[in-house]
Subunit: 159 residues, 6 copies
């Protein structure tokens, strides 16, 4: 009986999916996440942003670097030569949160949604680290894949 | 004027907090997070767990390894010699989610909440990776610090 | 005079072999190794295996992760985008040992036997780590390449 | 019931041993291993050694670097600030093998035998890599701990 | 005969200096370096700086991260738990160059000048990377230690 | 308005250049650098070189390893599967310096000059580390790209 979990073989053991014979195609994935924070923390970031503050720049670099390290963090991910990583931040003052979006691209044999999710997660963790003295009660929420293009399964979107 | 963000100096530049003269004390932090997934994905994991499946074991190892790499992922975190990392998973079938909790310990000069949060996040991402063929719509939610002990600021808890 | 050691140039200096112009072909390598351990240690692992223990799962994940890091561990190895890594454990109670086998695959320009050997070695070291409180006298033995397929030199097998 | 495997908790889950309250003491461990190789491979290394060849130097550096990365390779190892790593090679022509010995030191809370074993293993793998074009049938054998000093369990030796 | 190179033993082999018994003291090191670049590249960075550009922020983060990875880059460096890393940039328009300074701190057993030098070097390389499309002829110059405090050899300064 | 800095987007944010659709071509880059050192340090290295000393071998390995890690050190560099890395040292006694040259090759989508520069820089830092007890006043100078071949912009040379 085949296992519905592709990363677990018939014996229930962890299993790196074999992508040797898959075609090289252009693949893109986007992901999103949120960090909810206090008004004081949001103000601190906003003030930095209006000045020349490094808060968002630091989180952006951390997210990009993390995307490139995904296969070292997630045990069954394949090492990939990402051709593009981008991270964006929108300060959503009305909802007292920051909206993080990420995009990863590859000409390769497997999808890049884990790389996009890892970029979002580490960017959020980096924001947490820089704001935790102001607000230790922050919450990272809603990390998910938004869209996926390329590969055998075709294009895909959450909406 | 001092900056409320401890990781940004008065010029708005990223800044690693100087902990050279802080006392070495025992420090503990716990964190939690959730992954929401479809019934099919939850069933697949549960069946593995009842058998000898590696799904939760793989996510646990990934989380432990990530905690040890926190200072390489989060740019302004100090390198720490963690003395203990633990990850726990509770399958919460009623809410169709898995509850992830983590605990990190250190005898050192700075708190370990970022390590606990990183452990939770990477454990959740690893579950996502292993279940994404069954359910590409999963969502990682509610990553936050639960408790913090040791250090100058004393003990602290979310509740 | 050419040097019989391909990784040392005519001046006796360490040398990364130039694979720029080699063809991309499907390559596979398998390797094996053994860990000899006391009856008490073997029993402890076997009992874990019959229950839902993480011993072999942890060693499997460690071996897979190590295969992906081979070029960071072995100085003259090329970075490779492995398309498949698998590790298997057979408990050989008669000989009081565990037989570890590994398999690596790549569509690329160079062979993957070092990746397979690294996977076996680190899986064995991980078993050692987890059992050393029960048996500090364990011994890792017989790490070698079993088969190699693909590439200019053609298929190859130890037997 | 406690589990005889210290790295597995009572639920059978992978477990990083808590060393927070252990005393900082001077700890030393030595390990050894062998690589068996053909006369042609042994001659190639010996000729390098008599000249200014980098073969053993490369394997020595690889082993030292690997010792420092042990906690990233072995999932349940603690990160340690090693204070000394040394690797030695003896060419044992009579037995057509190279004898590798390693020594690691630490002033810390946990033993360093895994670091010494990792140093030996990666030094051996590096020799394998550099000689595999001459002899693909090499075998790494006899990797084990020789001595251990410091810590609660006192001094210990294989002989 | 002792070897004047502390990192090479009497046999001429690479050697990690044994610091096990050295005292833990507060240690600081500062280093500097320069990148010379065309007027066009300097203008591009300056314009970024006056706006909210990420050029210097990215190089600062890269330098901080590199300081923490020094022992993985420089084979005979000890792993250290740095307690502070800072990087500063001065745009020296008169000399058409950027002046990079770094500072590292540690309460530990060995000096941190290699960490400060690595931080400067990688910050300079990152500036090079971001400006190379405008000016491929840039030059990194004058990387050296400025001051060193703490440890047995006492305080030290280049001037 | 497009930004002259390719790694910064129109909003002034750090930006990984999208190379997804670039052609795979053979690319080569060479770089150079110098380390100036005292007569005593130069003599120590020269004596090692005439004997079987590991000084230059250690620096060569460090440079090769660093080239392979470039995308982890330089935030906006793409991960690349380098097909060749070489490092050369010339002892230039007349000018009391060592001349370091590096060469990197790739069949890929983006140039490898950052990899060549990183190799030179880390090789120089490693020489610094091994000689700093003899001469703490060393200086790393003149790190620059010498030649670049392959890719859309054609061949290029400093002279």
């Amino acid at each position: 009986m085949t296992n519905p979990l592709t990363h677990i073989n018939a014996q229930g053991e962890a299993n790196m999916v074999d992508v040797t014979e898959k075609a090289v195609t252009q693949r893109t994935a986007t992901a999103e996440g949120f960090i909810y924070l206090s008004q004081a923390a949001l103000d601190a970031i906003t003030n930095q942003t209006n000045a020349k503050g490094d808060v968002l720049a630091t989180a952006r670099i951390a997210g990009i670097q993390a995307a490139k390290q995904t296969s070292q963090l997630i045990p069954l991910c394949h090492p990939l030569a990402l051709s593009k990583v981008a991270i964006n931040f929108d300060i959503d003052a009305d909802n007292q949160r920051i909206h993080i979006t990420s995009m990863c691209k590859l000409a390769g044999k497997t999808g890049v949604e884990m790389e996009a999710l890892t970029a979002c997660s580490v960017a959020a963790l980096t924001l947490f680290d820089m704001c935790k003295a102001v607000d230790p009660l922050m919450r990272i929420d809603g990390i998910r894949v938004l869209t996926k293009q390329g590969g055998k399964s075709g294009d895909w979107s959450t909406s």
